[in-house]
Amino acid sequence: MQTKQSTIIGTFRRIDALTVFLYALLVFMGWFNIYAAVLNENSTGIFDVSYKYGKQLIWMIAAFVLAVSILIIDSKFYSFFAYPVYIFILLLLLLVIFMPQTKGQSSWFALGDLKMQPAEFAKITTALVLAKYMSGYNVKLTQWHNVIRIIGIIALPILLILLQPDVGTALIFGAFLLVLYREGMPGWMLALVVYSILLFVFSFIFGSFQVVLVVGAVLLLVSIFLAYYQKNSFRIFIPALLSFALPWLIVYWFSLEISEYLVFLVGFILLFVPLIMYSYRKKIMSFLIVFLVGFGSVSFSYGVDHIFHSILEAHHRTRINVLFGLESDPQGVEFNVIQSKIAIGSGGFTGKGYLQGTQTKHDFVPEQSTDFIFCTVGEEWGFLGVLVVIAIFLFLLLRLIFLAERQRSTFSRIYGYSVASIFFLHIMVNIGMTVGLMPVIGIPLPFFSYGGSSLWAFTILLFIFIKLDSDRDLLIF
């Protein structure tokens, strides 16, 4: 297959024009929205570089240069230099911890107006190294020593980013779970992780007891279903009911001051023996699994609670509370979300028209050009605008999956899935937080949010894949 030459012109002919078009579309839409968000009476024009929209134009030109350079560089370069660049970025992540703090985080290298956030680039290098390692000869997700290395590759940058501390960016690395799933990680693991995260978040917001009640109710329904479906005896419900009801009755009767978890624990212990006997006799595992899921959920939920209240210090607690929007603070997180919702909600079906938004302009919405840029879309373009932008994002993501699947080299496929997953998590968290579906975590919306560092990082991330895709017939590693 050496008929196609990897020339520069060849590359430009083979790149996926649709993806590049979607990219350019999003970047320009972002720029117009930044203009709308920052615009005030003193502004002179969209090219004024003393304002954010003027600066963003400069970042965009630089991003264009970057994109072209990436396409020119030989695609083997990205595989060949994956490890050195990964280590270099890890060193930067280590160094940045000693930089002066802004808003309680040391995440930035500042050079005058130019700010660089190494964590943005760590996503790219981690994706490359992950692709390189996993595409290696005889690397399988069923081999423990391989799995441990994969976890190490992903966990190292996460740990360093948590030290900054920048929980938001660290969270994005969760995107690699989707990649691992595609490459053979068992589905139940993905489900387990998602379930743990949900349990964790809900335990926080609603309290462990409520969560345990809901989990218990669901598991009861599942058990009834199992009993009916597998034609098992319903007799097992008698000891189950007794072992949980008795401890509670005793506690109430004597008004004992015992932690809820201990009462549940007693219930589980009481239930354990008859359940084992029953499962062994009937040779079925289903009830035992339900039991273990219940026990695991309750322990996890109360474990989170215990760590939070007994081990963490007060200022950590506050930070986490704010993260989940539990701390009501007039100038804080919850207020931002309500202002953001007012801005988006006031857009209505068709929006107020470009540059006509009042909420985003009069400083009601905080961080309106960066984290909350999507408010401007919602307010000025209305539901229709939101629909269009979300559709473009979704189209881009599905296109990326399509491109990834048509790769012949494992390296390119894994990298492609990494790109799609990282974009997905960014979009999900960023747009979700503007309407209160996600906790407020300060991460940018790809291509839309103001800022050179993030735009460049997303551009590099995407264009490396476009380059790899253009050479898909040549690459065999």
């Binding site: 009476e41 595609r182 919850e334 988006i344 629909l387």
Partner: protein
């Protein structure tokens, strides 16, 4: 299942999440109209409620930092129609230039309240309030300003000042126009004193009239009062110290030995903290910073160019006793000074020979040159450098050469040279006991801050231990830093303090030759030591340290008077007056003349 089929699962996840989002947006934007209504009303105004700052009391519960009400005139430019500028200026009594300049700044953000005239007096406020209806877009906001009833301890109490950009970036609590402690305890205990800002979101119409609360007041937050704190200072003693040092440069530090509490911390020239309050702040601050006598320089903590002089002889006595170099009976014949080679350290006339106790009483220079050399040249150490390390370890165990850790910023460490310092200066192994013999009499390279010297005195009073000196005594509902209740032992055993204290007692109460006889206070047993610190900055500094009473000491004190000459002449009387004031609350009639003389003497510009 074929792994490549998992692409469908992943794509399904993407689509599902995005569908949920679209549903959510549809609900917020199309179905639920309450957000549109909110937006219509969303000309909100956030009115900050500033809590009263915590008060500060002295150790006797006297109020030393109080609050007074002040008013800021706020403006939301976007809500201001044409208005009668002249009428407003008339009411406000401010210059047109300043008003217009601030108005221009306020116009940068037309929808955010901006304090256009700050700290309006209560009288102007009353006048203005009647006419406020004529000026839509303007409103008043109350806040408190500091008042210092005793007009003293400016450096210690510090001051508050409007936050700058750096403050806001560092701590998101602050926003433009807030005030923050910038020095002294106002800065150190800022987080307790400031309380917590509250505020309410009012929904206002186009004319700025309040129409109600945003989301029924859901986001309103009451302000939380600042915490009151009590400090260890005795404000009367502090005032008295500042009075005694008027027209002099120097400092006084008085500690309670049994706790490490700071009773007085004077740096002269002092200034009235009320100067740094209100509208005069900027001007007065400039005045203070350009003053050639540097009143903003806290000499009590930073005076690190002060050699301890003869007071340091006590240190050398203690080290020599601890190391077993001498016994209290060791005596030395002084022939008007100490000579070795080309070196000659002069001494003043006194009886001779002297033993250790007597040597302290008469402050014999020759005795301590010899003593210091016998420590460094003692056979028990392999080398002079080693002996010096041992010596230095004893010295640093008294908290010298390092910052003590008092709860006021800007404390300097003083200077006790390390071996490497002399190695660099003279060359390794090129310096001998004679080279640095001046350390024996507290001269040479060493420097102590007055705080360290006072703490040194407190250690002697305690016979070998100290608590880190501190200002904080109590914070409302909070415990103070545990490091201030932690006992620190020095490397000197308590029995060695006896002869030294005996010597200090004789300095004041001894017979002829005692260097500070005339400062004895009737009915109080005081132990002291004079010092006359030579320094490269002019006339000698007068130094005196003392504690009293001898049994169960209540106060330890160090006094520095810069470029004043003999310690006995200036520093000792001041120290004795301070001690008398603290213990007896009044000055004995037989000593009134000393008090008068000290207060009236001007040592800054001798006429």
């Amino acid at each position: 299942m074929e792994l490549s089929h998992r692409k469908y699962t992943i794509a399904a996840i993407f689509i599902l999440v995005f569908l949920i989002f679209i549903g959510r947006f549809f609900y917020i934007q199309v179905i639920d109209t309450s957000y549109q209504l909110d937006a219509m009303n969303n000309s909100q105004r956030f009115v900050v409620k500033y809590p009263a700052r915590g008060l500060v009391y002295d150790r006797n519960k006297k109020l030393i930092v109080a609050n007074e009400a002040a008013y800021d005139l706020m403006v939301v430019v976007g809500q201001v129609p044409q208005f009668d500028t002249l009428a407003l200026l008339e009411l406000l009594q401010v210059s047109k230039e300043m008003f217009l300049r601030n108005y221009k700044e306020a116009s940068l953000n037309k929808y955010r309240p901006f304090p256009i005239v700050k700290q309006i007096s209560a009288k102007t406020y009353a006048n203005l309030q009647e006419h406020m209806y004529q000026f839509p877009g303007f409103f008043m906001q109350v806040r408190t300003v500091r008042h210092y009833p005793y007009s003293s301890a400016g450096l210690l109490l510090g001051y508050i000042h409007e936050v700058d950009r750096a403050d806001i970036e560092q701590d998101s609590y602050y926003s433009k126009g807030d005030y923050k402690g910038k020095r002294g305890i106002e800065k150190m205990y800022e987080t307790y004193l400031r309380g917590e800002k509250g505020g309410s979101y009012d929904v206002v119409d186009v004319r700025g009239r309040v129409k109600g609360k945003l989301h029924d007041g859901k986001f309103d937050k009451p302000s939380v009062l600042g915490k009151d704190i009590t400090i260890t200072l005795d404000i009367n003693l502090q005032n008295y110290g500042e009075l005694l040092l008027s027209n002099k440069i120097g400092s006084i530090v008085a500690l309670e030995p049994s706790t490490g509490e700071v009773l007085a911390l004077v740096s002269a020239p002092a200034f009235d903290p009320n100067m740094l309050v209100g509208r005069g702040l900027r001007e007065n601050f400039k005045k203070l910073t350009s003053d050639t006598l540097f009143p903003l320089y806290n000499r009590a903590l930073q005076g690190d160019r002060y050699p301890p002089g003869s007071t340091f002889k006590l240190m050398n006595s203690l080290i020599a006793l601890q190391e077993g170099i001498v016994t209290p009976q060791y005596s030395y014949t002084c022939r008007g000074g100490y000579s070795a080679g080309r070196l000659h350290v002069r001494c003043h006339p006194h009886e001779s020979p002297v033993d250790l106790v007597k040597s302290i009483q008469v402050s014999c220079n020759a005795y301590y040159c010899a003593l210091f050399r016998s420590i460094l040249d003692a056979n028990k150490y392999p080398s002079v450098a080693h002996a010096y390390t041992v010596w230095r370890n004893h010295v640093t165990s008294f908290g010298l050469g390092n910052s003590l850790g008092i709860d006021i910023f800007d404390e300097k460490p003083g200077f006790i040279p390390q071996n490497s310092y002399y190695d660099r200066y003279y060359g390794k192994n090129r310096w001998k006991s004679l080279t640095i013999v001046s350390l024996g009499i507290g001269q040479g390279e060493i420097c102590l801050t007055p705080l360290q010297l006072a703490n040194f005195t407190a250690i002697i009073a305690n016979k070998g231990f100290y608590y880190i000196p501190h200002i904080i005594k109590e914070i409302e509902n909070t415990s103070i830093d545990p490091k201030y209740s932690e006992i620190h032992y020095t490397t000197i055993d308590s029995l060695h303090f006896e002869p030294v204290i005996e010597g200090m007692y004789n300095v004041v109460h001894g017979g002829p030759g005692a260097t500070a006889r005339y400062v004895a206070i009737p009915h109080i047993e005081m132990c002291g030591k004079t010092g006359t610190a030579q320094n490269p900055h002019g006339e000698n500094h007068a130094v005196f340290i003392a504690f009293a009473p001898r049994v169960n000491p209540q106060i330890a004190i160090a006094v520095y008077v810069e470029n004043a000459g003999y310690g006995a002449t200036w520093a000792a009387p001041i120290a004795s007056l301070m001690i008398e004031k603290y213990l007896n609350d009044s000055i004995h009639p037989s000593r009134k003349w000393i008090e008068q003389r000290m207060i009236q003497t001007n040592l800054i510009s001798p006429e």
